[in-house]
C-alpha cells in the first residue's frame, strides 16, 4: 500500500485505474481535463489496458459511455459543469438503459456568468436523472468512492450509473496524502464486471432501450429504476462495511462529526464541509455544542439516516453551495425529509455560501452558528441568507463603475 500526494483529479484517475475500467470515452473541460490526461499518459506508456476515445461533445461522450456499458464492458468517464449539462439528455437516457458506469463530475459553477470555480449547481441539476450521486470531501474519498461506485453501479440490485462528485480547485487541483490500495485487494473488493444479460452478442439478439407505448409500461420501467436507486441505500451501507474490512476506511451514508451531544448542527456537501469541521473544533473549544453532518450519498437521498441524526436537535444550519429560487437544494430536500416526522423537528436555517468558489471563513461559520441559535430562540427561521459581505459589494460596485452600469435604474411603473 502506497501513501502519496495526489490531487483530487489524480485520485480520480487512480480510482479508475484500480477499478480496471476497460473504456474511457472522453471530452476535455476545466477543471476535469487532468483526469483524462492522466489516464491518457498511462495508456500511452502501456501501464494500463484501457481504450480511450475522445468524442466531439459530452453528449456524444455519454452516449458512447452508455453504449459501451450496454455492450458489457466497464466504463469510466469524467466531466464538469457545462459539460454535465450538455450531456444531460444522455444522463437520463443511460440511467433508463440501466447501464452501470461511473462518471466523475468535477463541480464548477454554471454560466452565466461563466466561471471556473466550484459550486454545486451543476451536479444538483442532475439530481433527478436516475444516476446515483456520491459526494466527496477529500482526495482519499475520491479514489475510494470510485471503487464503491463501481460496486454500487454493478450490483444486481441497482445496475445504474453512478456519478462521483468532487469540487473543482478545492479538491481537483489540491494535493493531499492519499493511500493507494493494493491492486490485489481492490480486485478482491471489486471483481471483474459481470454484465449478465446486458450485452450485444451475435448469439444473443437483444433490443435495448426500446420505446414503449402507453403510460403503464413506462411507469413500470421508470419506477423499477427508481426502486433500484432506492436499493442503493442498503447496498451502499453493505459495501461500505465490506470496504472497511478490506481497506480500513469507513464510508457510511453520512459523515457525522460531534453530532451526538450537539444542539446545533451544520449540514453541508462536499469539500467545504471540512472547513465546517475545522470551525466545529473552534466552536467546541469555545464551549458551543455544535456538530456537522455531511451526506456522502446524495442520490438516493439518505432520508432515514438524516432523520435519525437530526432528531432532538434544536437548530440545523443548512449551508447550500447552490442556488435555486426558494432556497438552497439541500435545505428544501432536508425540510421534506423532516416533514413527516411526528416528533419535534429542529428549526432549519438556510445559508447560501461558496457560490462560484467563494470562500467561507471561520468567522462566518461562527456567525452561522450564532444566527441559527438566535433563530431557535426566536422560534422562526429567517429567509435564506446569502454569505456576502459589505466589502464584497463595494468591490462589485467598483467593477460596475468600469462596466458602465448606471447606478440609478430608470423609473418604472410598478
Amino acid at each position: 500500500m502506497t501513501r502519496t500526494l495526489l490531487t483530487g483529479n489524480g485520485a480520480a484517475a487512480w480510482g479508475m485505474r484500480l477499478a480496471r475500467a476497460d473504456y474511457l470515452p472522453a471530452f476535455p473541460i476545466t477543471p476535469q481535463t487532468e483526469i483524462i490526461e492522466t489516464v491518457a499518459s498511462w495508456i500511452n506508456r502501456n501501464e494500463i489496458e484501457c481504450r480511450m476515445t475522445t468524442l466531439e461533445s459530452e453528449h456524444s461522450m455519454l452516449t458512447a459511455a452508455g453504449a459501451a456499458a450496454a455492450t458489457g464492458v466497464r466504463v469510466f468517464s469524467a466531466t464538469s459543469s457545462q459539460g454535465l449539462l450538455y450531456g444531460m439528455e444522455m444522463l437520463y437516457t443511460v440511467a433508463g438503459w440501466r447501464a452501470p458506469l461511473v462518471l466523475v463530475n468535477v463541480s464548477r459553477g454554471l454560466a452565466a456568468p461563466i466561471t471556473l470555480e466550484p459550486d454545486h449547481n451543476d451536479i444538483l441539476a442532475a439530481r433527478d436523472c436516475g444516476a446515483l450521486q456520491i459526494h466527496c470531501a477529500t482526495c482519499q474519498e475520491v479514489l475510494d468512492s470510485i471503487l464503491l461506485a463501481y460496486r454500487l453501479a454493478e450490483d444486481w440490485r441497482v445496475r445504474l450509473p453512478v456519478i462521483v462528485n468532487l469540487d473543482g480547485f478545492y479538491l481537483s487541483f489540491t494535493r493531499e496524502p492519499v493511500q493507494i490500495p493494493e491492486a490485489a485487494a481492490v480486485n478482491r473488493f471489486l471483481p471483474p464486471f459481470d454484465s449478465g444479460n446486458l450485452c450485444f452478442r451475435a448469439s444473443a439478439p437483444t433490443s435495448q432501450a426500446v420505446a414503449v407505448l402507453g403510460g403503464g409500461p413506462y411507469s413500470y420501467f421508470r419506477y423499477q429504476a427508481y426502486l433500484a436507486a432506492m436499493n442503493a441505500l442498503g447496498v451502499f451501507e453493505e459495501i461500505g462495511q465490506e470496504f472497511r474490512k478490506q481497506f480500513g476506511r469507513s464510508y457510511d451514508l453520512l459523515d457525522t462529526y460531534h453530532c451526538d451531544d450537539a444542539d446545533i448542527l451544520f449540514v453541508m456537501l462536499g469539500s467545504f464541509a471540512t472547513k465546517a469541521r475545522e470551525a466545529v473544533d473552534h466552536l467546541r473549544a469555545s464551549g458551543q455544542a455544535v456538530g456537522l453532518v455531511r451526506p456522502r450519498l446524495l442520490r438516493p437521498f439518505p432520508k432515514m439516516a438524516l432523520q435519525r441524526v437530526l432528531a432532538g436537535k434544536q437548530g440545523v444550519a443548512v449551508i447550500d453551495q447552490n442556488l435555486s429560487p426558494g432556497g438552497g437544494f439541500l435545505y428544501t430536500e432536508l425540510a421534506t425529509a423532516l416533514y413527516d416526522q411526528s416528533t419535534a423537528k429542529p428549526l432549519l436555517v438556510n445559508f447560501i455560501g461558496g457560490l462560484g468558489g467563494r470562500d467561507i471563513s471561520r468567522e462566518e461559520f461562527f456567525e452561522i452558528a450564532a444566527e441559527t441559535r438566535r433563530a431557535v430562540t426566536a422560534g422562526t427561521a429567517p429567509l435564506p441568507r446569502l454569505l456576502f459581505t459589505a466589502a464584497e459589494l463595494r468591490e462589485v460596485r467598483k467593477l460596475q463603475a468600469i462596466a458602465g452600469s448606471r447606478r440609478e435604474p430608470p423609473r418604472r411603473e410598478p
Partner: protein, 313 residues
C-alpha cells in the same frame, strides 16, 4: 531542528509569484518535503486561466494532524515572495493577512531593513538573494524559494528537501533535476541562521473572530445587475504592464523606423510617432519581447524592470 515548533500546530505557507516562475512547483516541492518529513500536507496552486507573467499564488498547509482547513490562507505564518515587484501590486495580495509575527521571505536584491522601512506591517523579513537573472532560468526561482522556505520551517532536513525535488521532478532530465537541487540546497544553506524562524500557527492567534459584516443584497434590475459591460475598451483600465519583468526599450539611434515591431506586437501597444520611432505603451506592455526578437536592426533591447522605489498608493 525547531526552536519554537508546537508539534500539532498547522503550518500555513503562502507563495506569491508570476506565471512561469514555478510557484506551483515551489509549493509542491515544499509540500512533498513536509510529507516526507512525516507531515499531513495540503498543497495547491490558485490561478484562473494560466498566463505567463500574470500573478499567481499557491499555498501549503502542513501538520501532524489531519488538515481540515481549505482554500485561501488568510493568516499565513510564512509568505514567500518569488518576485519582489509583486509587493506593491495590491491585486497580488502579497501582504494580505500579514502581521508582525508573519515571516516574509523575499527574493530580492534589497535588504530586510529596506523592506521593513517601506511596508508597515513587515517586521520579520528574510532576504533570499537572487542567483540567476536569465529569463530562461526563471523557473529555477521556484526551487530556491522552496529550499529557503523548507529551512525557515525548521522541521525539514536537507535530505527531505533533496528527496522531495527528486520526487517532484521524476522523469525529467538529469541536468534539470541537478540544477533545481543546487538552487534549492544553496537557498536552504543561505537560511541556516534563520532555521525554525517560522512558527506553525503563529499567524492564527485571533480567538475572538470578528463579525463577517454580511449584508442583505438588495434587488437591482437587470439593466444594472446582469453581467454586461455597457462600454467599449474597458480592458485598457487593466495595467498589464505589471506583468512585465523585462522591459523592451527602443534605441532611437539604431531604429530604422520600419514599424515591424508595431505590426508584430501581440498586444498592439507599439505605435509610431511622427518621426516613425516606435513608442511603447508601458502601462500595458506585458514584456513578451516579440519586438526585441523581430526588430531587424536589433534596436530594441530588454532591460530588467527597476526595483520598486517604495510604497506607492
Amino acid at each position: 531542528m525547531p526552536k519554537h515548533h508546537r508539534s500539532n500546530a498547522l503550518f500555513r505557507i503562502r507563495f506569491h509569484g508570476r506565471g512561469g516562475q514555478g510557484v506551483k512547483t515551489a509549493s509542491r516541492i515544499l509540500g512533498q518535503a513536509f510529507f516526507l518529513a512525516g507531515y499531513e500536507v495540503q498543497d495547491a496552486p490558485r490561478y484562473g486561466a494560466e498566463r505567463r507573467g500574470a500573478t499567481i499564488f499557491a499555498y501549503v498547509r502542513a501538520s501532524h494532524d489531519s488538515i481540515y482547513e481549505r482554500g485561501i490562507i488568510r493568516r499565513p505564518d510564512l509568505v514567500v515572495v518569488a518576485d519582489e515587484t509583486l509587493v506593491e501590486i495590491p491585486a497580488a495580495g502579497v501582504l494580505q493577512g500579514v502581521t508582525k509575527t508573519t515571516v516574509v521571505l523575499i527574493h530580492s536584491k534589497l535588504t530586510a531593513e529596506d523592506w521593513i522601512k517601506r511596508y508597515t506591517p513587515l517586521e520579520k523579513v528574510v532576504i533570499l538573494h537572487p542567483v540567476k537573472t536569465r529569463r530562461q532560468e526563471l523557473h529555477l526561482d521556484s526551487a530556491a524559494c522552496a529550499g529557503a522556505a523548507a529551512c525557515l520551517a525548521g522541521v525539514i532536513t536537507r535530505d527531505h528537501l533533496q528527496r522531495a525535488i527528486e520526487e517532484e521532478f521524476v522523469g525529467q532530465k538529469g541536468s534539470l533535476v541537478q540544477a533545481n537541487l543546487t538552487q534549492a540546497l544553496d537557498a536552504y544553506n543561505q537560511m541556516a541562521l534563520d532555521s525554525g524562524l517560522v512558527i506553525a500557527g503563529s499567524g492564527d492567534q485571533g480567538t475572538t473572530p470578528a463579525s463577517p459584516d454580511w449584508i442583505d443584497l438588495p434587488f437591482e434590475a437587470a439593466d444594472i445587475s446582469a453581467p454586461t459591460i455597457h462600454a467599449a475598451l474597458t480592458s485598457t483600465q487593466v495595467t498589464t504592464g505589471l506583468w512585465r519583468t523585462l522591459r523592451p526599450v527602443v534605441d532611437e539611434n539604431i531604429c530604422r523606423r520600419c514599424g515591424l515591431c508595431s505590426s508584430y506586437c501581440p498586444e498592439g501597444v507599439i505605435s509610431l510617432d511622427d518621426q516613425g520611432i516606435p513608442v511603447i505603451d508601458y502601462v500595458h506592455c506585458k514584456g513578451c519581447l516579440v519586438c526585441v526578437v523581430e526588430c531587424p536592426a536589433h534596436a530594441i533591447h530588454a532591460h530588467p524592470e527597476p526595483v520598486p522605489e517604495g510604497e506607492q498608493t
